[in-house]
Symmetry: C3
Subunit: 354 residues, 3 copies
């Protein structure tokens, strides 16, 4: 990347809208919103990864702050409880010197029955130039993007998508498995293990990982893989490699990455799962199961974990776990995305003069 993030809060704002691709050609960021990763090309992913490298360097400074978003207001509107995603976006935005407004739906007048569209219009009129939205309804960020004049970042919508999680997962694999080269992930075996059916993390990872050329395996009880066989077949036509199986030993064999998904306790009620105990016995990521994977295979989890259910405590805290890395990388990835979206030609707010 030829552009650099120079200076601190007292220096001039530098917002690059053009970055050099790995091949040396200039590549611009063309997206106004980040709603999912399904429309990101390999070049887009590469630009996000390289911008995240720059943000990681910023995070290593004694004062991890650059003025890229000074004078912009980032509003974080969450209709679901969250610690790590909400705080990660807040820290990321503040590190870029943005003003941050937090709105938790549970304590705000959005509980008075106002429509989402009206809330979005209100948030914009209150000065928001970028909107980070988590909503329990799949597709809600798309509706918000239709209304909002600035940039919308999807921080998780229903079962549908969680694009920043997929991008931080990709960045973590690229750093740990491929020495920082996205191409180095091509052909690596990655297993997503658990409740794929209800997981927005899984869906966004499917898009990001197969775009990056990963050999992706989805594994879990068949009731929690429903519909993914058809997805795998249609993906194969486009050259994406997805294998769906309920046989955990087959899935884990020689895997380079095992990503365990959170089991939602409320799934029990639906009859899709017999019991947490049985789930843990058959699909929990234990040290024994992990030994089937390639030596040094990465252990990942989007958090929060149910230790002893989908992942054993010794595995979660073990030498192969990069779960804490995922969280730390999340701040850098979100800084990169806020930065790219703020500089995109389609961004609603005028960019400060560079």
């Amino acid at each position: 990347m030829t552009d650099v993030l120079e200076g601190d809060a007292t220096t001039d704002v530098v917002i690059p809208t053009i970055a050099a691709s790995k091949e040396g050609q200039p590549v611009g960021w063309r997206h106004r919103h980040l709603l999912d990763v399904d429309d990101l090309t390999m070049a887009d992913l590469d630009l996000v990864m390289r911008t995240t490298d720059a943000m990681t360097e910023v995070l290593g400074r004694p004062i991890a702050r650059v003025p890229a978003l000074r004078g912009r207001t980032v509003t974080i509107l969450f209709y679901e409880a969250s610690t790590r995603t909400r705080v990660s976006f807040e820290v990321a935005a503040k590190n870029l010197s943005a003003d941050v407004v937090n709105i938790a739906a549970s304590t705000s007048s959005v509980t008075k029955g106002e429509s989402l569209v009206d809330t979005i219009r209100t948030v914009e009129a209150l000065g928001a130039q970028m909107l980070v939205l988590r909503h329990h309804v799949s597709g809600a960020p798309y509706l918000a993007a239709d209304t909002f004049g600035g940039s919308v970042l999807n921080a998780g919508d229903g079962w549908h998508a969680h694009p920043t999680q997929a991008l931080l997962d990709l960045f973590t694999m690229r750093s740990r498995l491929a020495g920082g080269a996205l191409n180095g992930l091509r052909g690596r075996k990655v297993v997503i293990l658990g409740d794929v059916l209800h997981s927005r993390v899984a869906r966004s990872n499917i898009w990001a990982l197969t775009t990056a050329g990963v050999d992706l395996w989805l594994c879990g009880p068949s009731t929690l893989l429903h519909g993914f066989d058809a997805w795998a077949r249609s993906a194969a036509i486009g050259g994406r490699r997805i294998t769906v199986t309920s046989e955990v030993a087959v899935a884990l064999r020689d895997a380079d990455v095992v990503m365990a998904l959170r089991i939602q306790r409320e799934r029990m009620a639906s009859g899709l799962l017999p019991s947490l105990r049985e789930y843990a016995a058959r699909y929990g990521l234990t040290a024994e199961r992990l030994s089937l994977a390639a030596p040094g295979a990465l252990v990942m989890h989007p958090g929060p974990m149910n230790e002893g259910v989908e992942i054993a405590s010794d595995v979660a805290a073990g030498a192969q776990s990069v779960i804490t890395d995922q969280v730390a990388n999340g701040v850098a990835v979100r800084m990169a995305l806020l930065y790219l979206l703020a500089g995109a030609p389609g961004a609603g707010a005028a960019a400060p003069a560079s």
Copy 2:
């Protein structure tokens, strides 16, 4: 206004305590608190409006920040859920470079039964110089003002008052109907439509609008207008024009502004309203009803809206609607009020040297 808001966060603080009236005579802001608008003169309203003009100019800058309240702490203490008012004050205070502390009563120890007076003393001892208070009990801000050493801004108390809402409504009408001259509102017909009885927005608007010489109409089911006939008669003695009627066609005829109020669903239980459906049929602001008003009449609503009940969706989003303007103007009006109160001679905290 002869004084200007110069500079940004890196320049000196400029706090004017004197502004020139429209007639060219210097008029000072004499109020330490903003508890209601009933004690604001026409000159006071005019000063707020002109200070808001200046703040609107600030909001149009690439970096909408001035150092007027640098080093001051504004505490926002809300005993009721709110999005727009809470965020509006927060953004306004931050735009003036104040430090902002948010306290939501539902998640704080005020739920432990501490008295309001003790809470106010505590908030002041924690460093608050300005207090923005929303409380479900009418009159609570007056009690707070008796205790608090700095300035209290009422952000809504029970059914009693919501002065900043009335002032942003006034500013919106002045901009849209009167070319920025408050005198231009004299004699214009403004209709407040709906549940006037339970509305603090209506009560504060009655004071502000009649002080500005508006021909004010209150319209709604008779059960929701109880007591306002007497108010209208007593107001008439002082030369204020208020008409109370349940006949919506009479009220809307040739109106310059129609402000629909939110219907609280919990009113149904009290027997004051038969049903939302019947309310919508008889008093909802539809395109058909709006056609009775003057051409281009303004449609207003304090939000949050129940679309399809007190206001039809096509009217709320239509060309005559200035509802989003109201929200945006709210930030500017609150900046103006924080600014004027901070510079008032009676303000508890010493003003930074200019």
Copy 3:
């Protein structure tokens, strides 16, 4: 103290790691965490008090801000509702120019059942360098300190400890009774009155006050003093003076300080207290009871108060009350502690170059 807090947010960072003792010898702060006051020596207490003097001077400036923690993130993680302690830490950290992240457990994913250790790891990975933790389980901050790479400040854990409250109480007594000299508290009679059994405030005060040489009396219904006789006997071996009694007239006689504790209404259910009315009649701090104490004796309360129960309203608001002072001193003490911990040699984060 030979070091001074110079400058404002635009000047260089000054973090003293060495301060001169009263005797003129340099004394360093050796603690990485503040979990309780039981391991603080008289010299430690003195250093905290003198650093608080410096912070009080800062709070008196027109713009009460120094850059000591610029670029550091202080995360405030509260598993219990709180106004004063949470806001006090927030204001203290902001006055030192730290970035503050607030996490209230009730609205965050910590309610999803994640373990405390995982939450602490996540908070650290999100960038926290200092962690302020309130938790309903006694000992939780010790577990956090085992995991967290930076400094942990206990903001109250179960019935166990509330060290910053004890230190602000000590500072208040030192200012009001001893002219700012900690030694001046030696031999003064201090009474803690009320529900000692369930009080983390009492436990931390017992350590701090007896280390400072105070003649400490614990008074309340015998059911609420259970176990403290044994503590008093064992303390006596180490030269600490604690007297335990249920006779309020004996306890209050000639007292220099009376600190009333909050009665938790939920204690009634446990059968430990007959009724609030009876408690108020027998142990409430009334003007009549206060007249038994030394003339001008200080009235203290950690808040929030149940006026009319453990303390009469006229006493709480009377001339001898320093309850509001306690709150104001709390900000200064917390500034001092954040400052000392940030500069401690064992602090996890690299200190900015001075």
